[in-house]
Structures are given as C-alpha cells and as structure tokens.
Amino acid sequence: MSWYYIEGILILSGINLVAVLGLSLLTGFTGLFSFGHAGFMAIGAYAAAFATMKLGMNFYVALLFGGLMAGIIGYVLGKLTLNLKGDYFIIATLGFGEAMRLILDNIQYFGGARGWPGIANYTNLTNVVIINVIGIIILVNIINSKHGRNMKAIREEEMASNIIGIDVFKYKLKSLMISAVYAGISGGLLAHYIGFLQPKMFQLIKSTELTIIVIFGGLGSVTGSVVGAIVLTALPEVLRNVKEWRLVLYGATVVFIMITRPQGLMGGKEFRVIHIIKRIVSKLKAPLNKEVS
C-alpha cells in the first residue's frame, strides 16, 4: 500500500469526521436524528466551490462561507420542522436532503445533474487535520458549556428540561445550526479534495452513512465519533477486494451492532489517557488494599 493511498483514506476519513462531529452534537448530545445532513454537505460544497471558483475567494474563507450558508439553511429548516417529534422530524430531514439534491440537479449554472468538474484541489492532509482539531476543540467546549449541558438535558428528558426552564426549541435549533455548519465545512473540504461535484454524491445513503458512524462510535461520545469515522471510512477500503460484498457486510454489521451493542463502540464514554492510567493504578492498588484489610 502506497502512502498516497493511505493519505487518501485519511483525508476522506477526516472530511467525514468534520460532518460526523456536527452530527454527533445533534444526535449524540441533543437526541435528534437527521437523515438530511448530506443536504447540508451539498450546500456547503456548492457554496464553497462557488466562492473559490467563481468569486475567487480564499479557500478558508470559502469553507467558512459554505458552513455559514449551510447554517442559515439549517436555521430555516429548524424553524419550520423542529416542533415535530420523533419520526416526523426524521422524515422531514429526509425530505429536505432529497429535495436539496433535486434542486441542485436542476441548477444548470452549477452543471445540474451532469456535475461540476475542475474545482481546484486545495484540500490536503495538513489542513484537514488542523480543521478537525479546531472542530473538536470547539465541539468539546460547546458540550461542556451551559449550552451543551442544556442540550444533554433535552436528550435525557425533554419535558423535564422544559419544566425547569430550558428553552427546548431554541437549544434544538442551536444544535441543528451548529451541526449544519460542520456539515457545510465538510462539504467544502470534499469539493476541494475530489475536484468534482455532482448532486448524486449527496444522496440519502450519505446521510445514513454519517448517522451510522455516529451510532457506531457511540452516542454522546466525541472520541467514539473520531474512531467511528476513521474505522468506517477505512473499512470499505480494506474490504475492497471482496468488492460488492463489502456493503452487504456493512449493512449486516449495522444490524448486528444495533441488536448486540447499541451503545456503540464507546457507549457515551470518552477515551482519555488519564482515565486509563487511573484505572491501571487502582487495579494495581486493589490487591494491596486487600492485604491491608
């Protein structure tokens, strides 16, 4: 395996991870499911590509522009649909994602369904890693702030959080907007990595993939999302030589995880080096304590 190939997988994992981080806030920490985040990625991708190719903007400004556009659309979508509960919200996001793709199919300015070739390749491993690190730092800070605590309260018990004075709608909206911004930035990175955009890239299956990564990593765990994004992006590549069967295995694995270990890889816990050291120390101490008593 050449480094070029491994680098490619790492970049793709990193791009997925940006979107997964946002979705992790929405799904893992606020308890809302979305099957429309590919739509936000599409908005970010087309907006960023538009900014760099047509307006001649700086790549990083263009990424933020893409994220911002996705965030604005997220705000509008949230305003309209966040009053819906459970399946209704999921179906609304599903409808949004598919509608976004169909709209892009019909915009001839961006090449329509045929696609938009020749986008400059600005994305590389260095800036993907840096953006991910910044993304994780911001996300962890949000989660540990007052806002994040309110979101977690909503996830645990919506009615109770409403009663103690948390504006449920507002925090759901915030969560959706932030996750949309992350997805938009991820889309912008994708556009400038592949160099080609086509609405087909942002089908329902893409949204599903993102959600599956979040679940696989464990709801409510940032490190779980990181591991999930890398493992699940690399897995189909590792299974490349079994060709068509890899997605069969993928589907079966998802069902298997759901029925055996639904809490995911990390199960809401974070992976911290300090915790592991503490655990090892306490295990070493345990026999000593016994002797003393």
Binding site: D87, I91, A99, E244, V255, M258
Partner: protein, 292 residues
C-alpha cells in the same frame, strides 16, 4: 380536458400502487411506532421475485404474483425476527429500530447487487400493450390491472382488519400496545401478522412496479414516496395512507404533465415539508401529543 383526464387516470393508477406501499408501512407504524425504512428492501425483493417467476421460471402471472406476495411477506417476518425483535425485547428506543432498519435495507440492496447484479432487468410483456380506448382517452391495460389489483388487495386488507378477530386485535394493539397485551392479546402474534401483511402488500407493489417500469436494486428508494404519502394522510392511519397515496400520484402526474417531469419529485418533497409544517398530523391523522 382530455389530457387532464388522461393524467388523472395515470395518477390514480400509480397512486394506487403507492397506496399498497404506504398502507404496509403505515400498518407497521401504527403498531410499532417507528418508520420501517427496510420496507423499500422488501418491495425490491418482491419485484425481483416477480421477475424471476415470470422471466426465468416462465410461470403464469397469477402464480408469479402469489410468489412475490408470499415471499415478501415471509421476508418481512424474518426481518422482524432478526432486526427488530431483539430490540423490542429490550425496550430499546425507537431510534435503534430505525438504524437497524437502515442497516437491513443496505444489506438487502447490496446482497441483490452482489448476487444478481446491479443491472436493470426488464419484465417480459405480461399484458398487451394496446390500450383500452374510451372516446379520446387511451387507458393502458397495465394501468387498469395495477389499479384493480391494488384495489382488491386493499379491500382484502380492509376486510381482515374490520371483520375478523385478528383485525380487531390489530386495531386494539395500534390503539394501545400495553393495554391490549394486558387484555390477553398476543402482541407477538399481532406483530407477526402485521409484518406479514405489510410485506405481502410490499411484494405486490414490487411486482406491479417492476411490470410498469423495470427492476433494479435501488428500486426500494421508491418507498420515500410511500413515506410522503403516509405522512400526507397521517402516519398510522390506513385510510389516510390510501388518500395520501392517491393524491400524491395525481399531483405527481399532473406536475409531470403540465409543468416539468424533472420537478415531479421536487414537488413531492416540497409537499412533504409543507404538510409537516402546516398540518403534521396529516389529513386523517389523530392528534397525538407524542407524535405531532
């Protein structure tokens, strides 16, 4: 005027097949309270079973139809046993059901790609192409067959639900799962029946769709239309699902006929979001605090 009537008839015909899918989906929703995203996979398998029966094994249409319906029904039941039953036993949140369903749907789609291949398959011609002509209208034979089969299937379902003891138990379980189980309804059995019925309807929809268009592994995507129809009519309401499906069929063919066929799906999704915003419980749906 003729074009309008023509489009209306086409719309009703396609809408009746949507109704088959939407009712199966809504039936499961009414009992289990989650969106069975694997419904599309069952429809796809139904379409392939029909294709194999008609094209490869050269069976007459009624037998092929029977194979598609029963095979899909069994598949839906097996799916429930493997992917949902363990979750149900553990009282898992509905989100896990949805992810499990998504996984099952990816599995079904790709196992067909891996074994049969990703190519489009065309059904042999079962019904003659020459349309019935009434005045200036030309009604395709297949459209008439589709409508009649759908209507009869839905009628049978209606009789099962309204006139039999099992049907009463289904209604009771849909109304309140826990209470009906306390009243001695065997809810496991009801879920078994509901998945069987929903799967059979999906299989029928699959073979009809295959005859009208072609068969391919991604045909299950069409269930998104069934979700829209079911939401349009009110999730969990069977009459709502039928009304929603027929309306959706008519709206789609009208859009395709008068505006642009490219905008057809877009209008369907716009309608979905509009309905969810304006009247989330749908046309016939009951207002339920938990749902809307």
């Amino acid at each position: 005027m003729t074009t309008f009537l023509q489009q209306l008839i086409n719309g009703i015909s396609i809408g009746s097949v949507y109704a088959l899918m939407a009712v199966g989906y809504s039936l499961v929703y009414s009992i289990m309270n989650f969106s069975n995203f694997a419904h599309g996979g069952v429809i796809m398998i139904g379409a392939y079973l029909g294709f194999f029966a008609l094209a490869i094994w050269q069976l007459p249409f009624p037998i092929a139809f029977f194979i598609a319906a029963v095979g899909s029904g069994i598949l839906a039941i097996v799916l429930e046993r493997i992917a949902y039953n363990p979750l149900r036993k553990r009282n898992a949140p509905f989100l896990y059901f949805i992810i499990s369903a998504m996984g099952a749907s990816i599995f079904l789609e790709n196992i067909v790609i891996a074994t049969i291949g990703p190519n489009f398959k065309t059904y042999p011609q079962v019904f003659q192409k020459t349309p019935y002509e009434i005045g200036a209208l030309a009604i395709g034979r297949l459209d008439v067959v589709m409508f009649i089969i759908s209507a009869v299937s839905l009628l049978i379902l209606l009789i099962i639900i309204e006139k039999t003891k099992v049907g009463m138990a289904i209604k009771a379980t849909a109304y309140n799962f826990k209470a009906s189980s306390l009243m001695g309804v065997n809810t496991d059995y009801i879920i078994f029946i509901v998945f069987g019925l929903g799967g059979a309807l999906a299989g029928i929809a699959g073979i009809l769709f295959g005859m009208k268009y072609t068969v391919y592994p991604q045909i299950g995507v069409i269930t998104i239309k069934a979700f829209i129809a079911a939401v349009f009519g009110g999730l969990g309401s069977l009459s709502g699902a039928v009304i929603g499906a027929i309306s959706l069929g008519i709206i789609e063919t009208m859009t395709a006929g008068y505006i642009s066929s490219q905008l057809r799906d877009l209008i369907a999704f716009a309608l979905l979001i509009f309905i969810l915003v304006v009247r989330p419980m749908g046309i016939m749906g009951k207002m339920n605090e938990d749902k809307a």
